[in-house]
Symmetry: D2
Subunit: 362 residues, 4 copies
């Protein structure tokens, strides 16, 4: 299905970095959901590069809602959101057309599209397309709030600086969603930002790990096979350009241990069924158990670095050297966080509408 | 889509642990692929519990091909493979019906299916269903071999014992596919098996990490968004019951480092474009670059342990204790390996048929 | 998606006429629906050839439920129903292997499957596969009854003998669902059966038109584009082998007339919104309006006739003559009727589960 | 999937009659297809109301390609085409908000969207959305031409005036594709236009039947079940607002006859396998046999008529009368023709890319 994802609630995205516009069509959301354009704008601002630690290309991302919203509310028909491109400096790219930027999709795009791809600024592979996901995701986040389902993400680690663990989840998530640089411990936030600045000075880039929590998702959601909660979330998350790993809970750290430690004992608390620990991350057998959903995404260092790199000229099939020009981020993890929240919200809207019907999130 | 996965080549699975049969319908494979029932049986044997380190329930998994194979070859129409159940000791389970086994899906199944689920032996959530995936996957593996696309998996770690890294990939994979206990280093294999036996004696269970390589996948396969190679593989992999994490390359270890180290420089080698390192695991921008695809799966310790555990009675909504009887594995990671290979093969057949047409793998 | 249809409730079918078995996997039905095996058997009997007007191949269609039903009710997990084949006389077909039976799929199967298809008795194209749809459809019909949604079909015309129009729909449908030969007017039923017998004596075959009504479908179901009620119903109906036309209401007769006659005026009746006429067949803008859904299917004469016919040998690419042997029906319309009801029920379960959630039809 | 259709090549549409814009995202087309904006414009002109027989609302439909086209060719990534709305007279509609226009979707939209729908001018149900399909379809038509696959449609009948049958198909289709009012016989075209004018004078509307031919589709395309050629085409065709019947060949007229007449005998002609007649409309068993694909669509009279009509006020649940104002067509059949061609082309691109791979139509 390529650029469309989701069954009951689906998203379709389009656009290239240096084309006319990027956009998203969001279909299947319940009618009657309030659409808060200020919230959409503030979410877009979180994704937008800004300040010393980000690229100089800082577009305001003015979006237009072309359909699906009437008198401030969703109509139930497709919501089309367009974000026009501007400030494109296409000439930055043409000179190095056949030189594959390491870690980027230039060469694989050429293999797939045979040279017809719009190569400027990464074209359709550009992280800029995620702005469309954020615009649409903002509406999904609002829809989920109507059922008190909350999503929050922090930078778990960046450049080996590690944030504190989640503690009081409701409060932590509320706090994170007020922050531009989403780290629970403010000291660690400073250290990470310093690290990013140093990295930029070294003409290098850096990545890290994001950790996300979803609160108050009802129990009984997800499928035993193929469309497990883990499957659907990871499917969507892995389409965020820099993400190369997804784990639920601390799986990679814990699986070498014992079942007696990994199992989460069930208990009754305030007349509700909970688990004492949550190593299974709120999911048993692919289905939510009512506990928080927890997952971590590995965000690779942005591949654009201002150093001379070995590469090939794929037109000529010969070795070459490349020094990337243009405007690039030394890190994207702090911006990727709102993309993770957005895409998580979109997936959950899909799953919930499938489970409880198309009017559930109204 | 619940129990169906894939677009061009799709699989549908059914069955419960203690029902009449489990099975798979495999649709969309090219006509003319040789179907080797001996290979199917030998793959099923790899999944089957056996010997001291596995459960006492050791069924021979005799399968029947009900359709889609004619004169030893695929017809191009749906291949239905049924594996009848036998040797079921249903009474083991009924006594503890409303007690949620920690780490299992009893409680979430109850939330989703309202008590109508076949609860015996985990019902539709049973790992036994993976036998159907293995039977179908064997045909997919054969289909891929016609294009020299090879898949192999080793136990990267189990109980903190770590296998050596992949080295000569073609040889390593050939070697692994001859082994019942898929570890590259035979000493480590012994240590892991000892560890599993010790764990069983402690009435506990243990997990680990599987690492898989896919060789000779053509460049240019996968989609930039939503249906990235990572997305499709992880979607399928996360439906294997015990898998809680998927990373491409060593993502979680490496992303805190620098872009200059993570980027894979392109080079020409024997007139072919390769990368010097392969931290991106053969995938740039969601699309294969011609290098080996590498991923790791975190396999949690099997949740059935022979210890008294805290839990709840979900009919009565009250705390309870549970001591699991029946026959259970102290580890499933050595058996999960062939399931990973199988589901990987099924996903790749789907992607390749979508990209190159339905006759490609004939 | 080939042999799988439906999103929220999906069906997957498999099998060949002379293979081991045919079958259906029905996924996504709500848990807790009573499964009445007697009703399933009686529906299968309606499809089964019987008596003077049908083929001599009269199998009892004994079905086995392999999964998804527990203690007489659906579990919510995939329902696998298998119908073993028997009584196959494969040698009837091998002699004429490369001779394309006119009106059949032999030649197109060869174009698609390159000769690997199981050609015996039409293989996967055989009308026999519809038995699987009928077995699964019986459960869907039961599920719909829980919401008082009723489906009935009569033979509107056969060999230019025309049944009376629907009149009192609830009564008519109740009456039809008691009949083996589903014609409202018993005299016309006799005439049609005589016509079929005469046709058989002439070594020819005959078709006709089926008309179906769906009662009590709630208003507000269906989509404005692509997944209109008409689209989804026709998609499924056109996969019944002999169906070559689908119209809602009497569309082909009426569309040359005026809008003032075609429009259905809305009125209030017993506090309910109804339409005075129902030319739009219960559907406005792709969505149900609460009136009966009415559609007609053109069922072509069965292509197997006992006359010498011109054809080609597609192996040799040369002209040939063919005289079909074997056992064949002079008409299938009276048997197709229960297939239409079944597939209609399956589609409606899918649409309703998508609209109102997976528990709606429990 | 609501507003998205197709698997390998998919279309997503959005928009409301009186919103900001309508549009289409066309995904999965091969890279390298020339995009001829003049042809797109001329196709849009065929759909656009014009002259005495059409509504006074005559927008120029200026479209913008926002993505997916680079240097005049498709890139292989999503093609987003937007058509801004203008010339909207929204006040025409608000006065009659709760009065269900007979034959329209006002009431069913209210049932589905609970009053949140954009009701102005039919909102998302407006035939205007088909302009997006025509814009996208023009690219699909171009893609098919690269393989010499041609599509053409004539008005078979309108107001009981009947065009001549197809004769020399290649010539007829070439001729039709030059005509604004697509009737093979020019006298009949005049009579039909007169009939439409008379109907307008009577403040009424009129419908008819369109007949379409697809030439040079390769044999072996389509699926035996569910995704038969008939299924996929009818699925798409029935989402065109006014279409209420689809038949392949003259099915409804012929099925009451004999199999000996309906069967199409195969013959060798110029070393190619053809059929002597083509009652099966180029499709056997759901799969193309290499003969022309022929189908007819019943297009209902446009429901907007300038007469007082009985209806209900669905807010108050009481009887009412309605006299529609605004600008409306006495007939849409001559405009629907290019929509049928467009959607047919989109479906065929999907089927061909699925069968032969994503590069096939480049």
């Amino acid at each position: 299905m390529k650029n469309t994802f989701g069954q009951s609630v689906s998203v379709t995205i389009y656009g290239e970095s240096h084309g006319q516009a990027i956009g998203i069509i969001l279909d299947g959301l319940a009618p009657g959901i309030p659409v808060d354009e200020n919230f959409m704008q503030s979410q877009l601002t979180l994704r937008r590069p800004s300040g010393a630690i980000s690229t100089a290309r800082q577009e305001p991302d003015p979006f237009q809602i072309l359909s699906g919203v009437f008198e401030g509310k969703t109509t139930g028909t497709p919501i089309s959101i367009m974000i026009p491109n501007s400030q494109t400096r296409s000439k930055d790219y043409s000179a190095t057309r056949p030189l594959a930027r390491p870690g980027h999709a230039d060469y694989t795009a050429y293999c797939k599209y045979h040279g017809f791809e719009d190569y400027r600024g990464g074209g359709h592979f550009s992280g800029r397309i995620t702005a469309a996901l954020v615009a649409g995701g903002a509406i999904a986040i609002s829809a989920l709030k109507s059922k008190n389902i909350l999503i929050g993400t922090h930078i778990k680690s960046c450049g080996n600086i590690t944030d504190r663990d989640f503690d009081q989840l409701d409060q932590d998530i509320q706090a994170l969603n007020q922050k531009v640089f989403a780290v629970l411990d403010d000291d660690k936030a400073m250290q990470m930002q310093d690290k990013i600045k140093q990295t930029a000075e070294q003409r290098d880039s850096i990545g890290g790990i994001l950790e996300t929590a979803v609160l108050h998702l009802p129990a009984g959601v997800g499928e035993p096979w193929f469309d497990t909660l883990e499957s659907l979330l990871s499917h969507a998350l892995f389409s965020i350009p820099a993400i190369k790993g997804v784990q639920f809970g601390n799986a990679f750290d814990l699986v070498n241990g014992f079942g007696s430690a990994y199992n989460d004992a069930f208990r009754i608390q305030n007349d509700k069924i909970i688990t004492e620990t949550n190593h299974n991350a709120g999911i048993n057998g692919g289905i939510s158990n009512g506990m928080p959903i927890l997952f971590q995404c590995a965000v690779k260092p942005t591949p654009s670095i201002y150093q001379k790199q070995n590469t090939v000229n794929f037109f000529e099939k010969e070795n070459a050297e490349l020094e990337i020009k243009g405007r690039h981020d030394p890190a994207v993890i702090h911006r990727a966080r709102v993309v993770v929240d957005s895409i998580t919200a979109l997936v959950l809207c899909d799953i919930l509408a499938g489970r409880f019907g198309t009017d559930y999130l109204a």
